[in-house]
Structures are given as structure tokens and as C-alpha cells.
Symmetry: C2
Subunit: 344 residues, 2 copies
């Protein structure tokens, strides 16, 4: 900037004003300055600007576990929304314990992020951080800012499976402590037909006994007449598909399987998995906009206000993506009654 000022014989202040388009510079001079800036390959120092304005132009993203298969979708959506708003994204992983989450947030704040998007760990509560925060989890989470309407997503699944003729449902979740999973499963239950038979399988409980990656005992359910398998995410749905398929069950002829999240592989396995997709772009946009609103307001009003926890509780609707794992089962007639005896 000083190089431009020197080359043109004007002041740094004028260069700054011209480049930021804040008016108060004659159009001709402004044009000359812009040209010279381009010519010199001028790149403003965002660091200096940050120091001066107190705004870094960077948002933090704290995730419970970067290794989570859903992470790519979230990170991509947040990165996009932030980039569109001219913000960078600093990532932090709270993998491990809840203390790590606190540390991760601290590290981010040391770096003067203007706001933080956090996907909290089970059962943690994000209090007032002294910095704008948007929480993405589930509407059931205290302090939640925005999330998919997981309950409604569960209802989508129930309606879909019931519409196919199913009356015997196995609901598959990993951990009953997860608000997201509880919402999904609760939503499903709330919409099952009156005469439905339901059993819930909690994977972590089974694995605690039989070890990770163990069979889920789904063939036992099949033998007991269950035909619909609704998992709380695609990873579990995939596990169900392979477990059933391996045992010789034909999907969707003999059983339907549905998942959540439309993870990377879901459309590409055989048969492709029917799933309920989150509108991550919408969620990210709401989260980022909520953050920006608080940031702008902080800047405008009394800065002593400090960190403000956002509390909008936006619920973004989910959409069902019907694929092959839930084609019409050959075992049902159009009334939904079983017409073949091979599976009672």
C-alpha cells in the first residue's frame, strides 16, 4: 500500500479509501490507484487490517471428530458459506474427550476468530464463550442454533416404509445418548402405523459385548418376521445391507433398508441405499449468517456486550432420496400383506 502511495505521490489514507471504495476519493484518482495496485500486484495485509479493525475475517469450525464420515459434508458446506461471505475457516478437532473440545475452542479464540461454528460432542453444552457461537446439532440440544429437523426426517422414513407395506420395523441406532439419533428414531416411532411391531437395536450396546464390527443379529429379526430396517445413518444402513445380503437375503425383495445422511458411498453400492439427506448448504448458510449478524452488531453497538449465544433454533427440513434398497418388496401385495411364505 505504501508502495502504491509512493508511486503515485498520494497518501496511504487515500489509497486505503480508494481501494475500499469508501467514497471520498475522486473517481479519477481512485481509478489510477486501482490500476497501480493491480500493476504492482498489491495484496492487502489481512493481518494488519485485523489488528486495526479487531476483526480477523476468520471463522472457527469445531467438530467432535474429524474422522466422522459426515464431516466432509459439513466442512464443505461451512467452507463454502464462509468463503462466499469473504471469511476463511480454521478447523479444530475435539476428538477424544470434552476437554479437547474446550481446548480447541480456546485455540481458535486465541487466533482471534470472529465467530465459531461448533458441532458439539454428546452431552456437552456450549456456554457463553465471549465470542459469537453457532451450534449445529439437533433441535433437542440446548443452545442449538440450526440443524436438520431430524424428527421430521424420521417421520419421512416411517411414512416411506409404511407406504411400502411394512408393519414390522427394526430401528437401528448407535448410541442412545446422541440427540440426533434420538430425534431420528423418535420421529420414526411417532409415525409408525398403529399395528406396527417395533424393535430398536443399539449398536454400541451389542458391540460392547461382541466387539466392534460384530454381526448385529439382523437375521434373527428376519426370522422373527421383521422386514423393514431403518438405520439412524447410512453407515449403519450399509452394515445392515451387507449383513443381510451376505446371509442370502435379497434387498429389496425380502427386506427394505433405509439410512440417513446420503454419505459418499450410499448411491454407489449395490443396491443403492435409500436415505434421508440433510440440506447442509442451507444449514451452513444459516449458521454463518447468524454468526455474521452478531459480529456486525457487535461492531455497531456497544462492544462490551461480549459473546452472545445465538438462539434461533432453526430447523431445516430433510428430504428422502428413494433408491433401490427400498423398492417395493416382492413379499407384499398391494394391500401390504405378505404374499410369499419364504419369510414369515
Amino acid at each position: 500500500m505504501s508502495a502504491i502511495a509512493a508511486a503515485l505521490g498520494v497518501s496511504a489514507a487515500t489509497v486505503s479509501n480508494a481501494l475500499s471504495g469508501k467514497g471520498r476519493v475522486s473517481p479519477e484518482l481512485a481509478e489510477k490507484i486501482r490500476t497501480k495496485a493491480a500493476e504492482l500486484g498489491y495484496v492487502p495485509s489481512l493481518t494488519a487490517r485485523a489488528l486495526r479493525t479487531g476483526r480477523s475475517g476468520v471463522l472457527g469450525l469445531v467438530l467432535p471428530n474429524i474422522g466422522n464420515p459426515l464431516f466432509p459434508q459439513i466442512a464443505q458446506a461451512i467452507e463454502n458459506a464462509a468463503a462466499d461471505a469473504g471469511y476463511g475457516v480454521l478447523i479444530a478437532d475435539s476428538r477424544g474427550n470434552n476437554n479437547m473440545q474446550t481446548l480447541a475452542i480456546q485455540r481458535l479464540m486465541e487466533r482471534q476468530v470472529d465467530g465459531i461454528v461448533v458441532v458439539p460432542r454428546f452431552g456437552t453444552r456450549i456456554g457463553d464463550l465471549g465470542c459469537p457461537v453457532a451450534v449445529i446439532d439437533s433441535p433437542s440440544t440446548p443452545g442449538n442454533t440450526v440443524s436438520s429437523d431430524h424428527w421430521q426426517g424420521g417421520q419421512l422414513v416411517a411414512d416411506h416404509l409404511a407406504g411400502l407395506g411394512h408393519r414390522n420395523f427394526v430401528l437401528i441406532g448407535a448410541n442412545p445418548q446422541s440427540n440426533v439419533q434420538n430425534d431420528r428414531i423418535g420421529g420414526m416411532k411417532s409415525r409408525l402405523p398403529k399395528d406396527a411391531r417395533v424393535e430398536v437395536v443399539w449398536i454400541e450396546k451389542i458391540e460392547a459385548v461382541s466387539g466392534p464390527g460384530c454381526p448385529l443379529g439382523l437375521m434373527d429379526k428376519i426370522e422373527r418376521g421383521f422386514t423393514a430396517f431403518a438405520a439412524s445413518n447410512d453407515l449403519h444402513a450399509l452394515r445392515a445391507v451387507t449383513e443381510l445380503q451376505r446371509a442370502g437375503i435379497r434387498i429389496p425383495d425380502q427386506a427394505s433398508v433405509v439410512g440417513f445422511d446420503d454419505l459418499a458411498w450410499s448411491s454407489v453400492v449395490s443396491p443403492a441405499i435409500t436415505t434421508v439427506r440433510q440440506d447442509m448448504a442451507a444449514i451452513a448458510e444459516i449458521a454463518v449468517n447468524a454468526l455474521l449478524a452478531v459480529i456486525d452488531q457487535e461492531n455497531a453497538e456497544i462492544p462490551e456486550a461480549g459473546g452472545i449465544a445465538i438462539a434461533q433454533h432453526d430447523r431445516v427440513p430433510m428430504t428422502l432420496v428413494a433408491r433401490q434398497t427400498s423398492g417395493r418388496p416382492a413379499i407384499f401385495n398391494s394391500q401390504g400383506n405378505t404374499i410369499k411364505g419364504e419369510i414369515r
Copy 2:
């Protein structure tokens, strides 16, 4: 900091020296300053430090596509290695075209990152950026800094499958333009038994004709006597497993399937997928250390040197994780000859 200085009646310079442990402060005063800092909850402004020292303490991470299933592993490893070294990580997605990659790098540089880790898009070459860069791709990529030894990984697969008795191999890749995939497939080919029969399936070519998610024609291979399916990553391996399973093939009794990368679901599907794992922690550490070495050197020597492309070409060995998809096939006797006729 000035608050500490004021509270103690010393200068900011002394506070700075005490807190940074640069010596030249009496132990007693230093201790008093540290105590007061803790008491006041002092958090240094990394922005100010960055402006003054010219180092932001932030590394950039540019990925070809955040949506890629391998991304979590990479991001996590880099975030860890960077955090251990006291650095933050700014992410950028070059999703879409090669121009986006250039833009992503520019945005990162505007934010004064001290160095950039880039996983380049197919066929792009990362030149001198005027900032330290570490490229992670494959040893066959020009400018590569560090990567897994994908060729050796391919050899691991070939040895493993040949050792099981297989002589008829289907190699599955997505895109022949990818250096990584070419290395993996090349490595496999280089170690197949002399009398082996080999066919390569390129998924993108098939999908260009039959649409995304279409069958890969694997049953045709089975009918023509192929028994070993070696995919260039777990996503394709999973696709092969489900396609074969769905058609009634029992894995591993009638066919073996092997993948790469040990993606999130690989250990949890049924049967669990045998795969070759990358040592991401080692790769990330080498990449980050390479960056730090250049950054420190820039700081010590002539800063006019500008950006230096690192050229170490470290190859990190891969390891095979044998799981159920490649148990000993029942169709082979101990000499590796077919003993059952059900699959010729």
C-alpha cells in the same frame, strides 16, 4: 499485555520478554508477570504478533475435493501435526475446476499463511507460489513432497492375493489419469504371478456409458473365471463386494476383494474389507515439518529467497490390513488350484 504492565508498573517490553521466556528478565519479575498474566486471563494477540513478526502461525490446507471420503483422514492428520507444532489450519476446497484451486491458494496467501499443504487435482502442477508448499499426492507427481508409496501398496495387494492362490485378477480403478491410482495398479501388476490373467476395469469409462452407480459387470468376470478383485480404493472395493454379494457370490469363499485406504466403513461392513492403509500421521508430520523447515530458514536467512518448493519425495510405506473379504477362498486347494467347480 499493557494491562499487565500497568498493574505491575513495568514496561510492555519486559512483559513480552518474560512471557516469551527469552531470558533477560530476572526470574522473580518473570514469575510475578506470569502470575499476573494468569490472574488477568491474559491471552496474547496472535494477530499483533503476526503483524510484527511476519508469521501468522497458520498453515493452509488445499484439497481437491473436501467431499472426498479420504479427506477426513488427511484433514485430521494435518490438523494434529499442525496443532502439535503450535499452528492453526485454514482449509480451502478447490472443488470444481483447476481455477478454483488457484483461487483457493490465493485466498490462503492473502490471509498470510506461513505455508500451504496441497493435495493437487489430477494433472495440475503446483509451481513456485512465493510461499512454502508441501505437495501430497504420489511419488509420480512432479513436485511431490511426501506421500504413501502407492506402488509398494499395490505390491502388497498382489502378494497377498497371489498368496491366497488367486491367478485370475480383476483390477478396479476409477480414472487412469490419477497418479495415485496408476501407481497402485502399476504396483499390483508388477508383482502378479507370471501365469496370472489380468483385466483392468476403469469405472469412469463404464459410467460414462451406463451412468453413475451402474453395475460394473463383475459377474461377467466371475463367469469368465476371475476370482480376485483388487480395487484402487475401498469405495470401489465396497461396490464390488455388494455387487457380487447381491448376485449371490459368497465372499471370501468364491472370490476375494481388496481395497485401499481403510475408509470409515471398511471394518464394519459384512464381510469386513481387506485393505491397505496409509500412514497419514507420518505423512502429515513430514509435510508439516518440511513446511516448518522452510519457514524457519526463510526467517533466519535472506528473506528475499521467497517461496521455495520443497522437493524431498518421501515415500511412506503402506500396510496391509487383512480382513474377511480375503480369507482363504474355499475354491482353492493348498496349491492354489481350483477344487470346486461351481465357479470355473
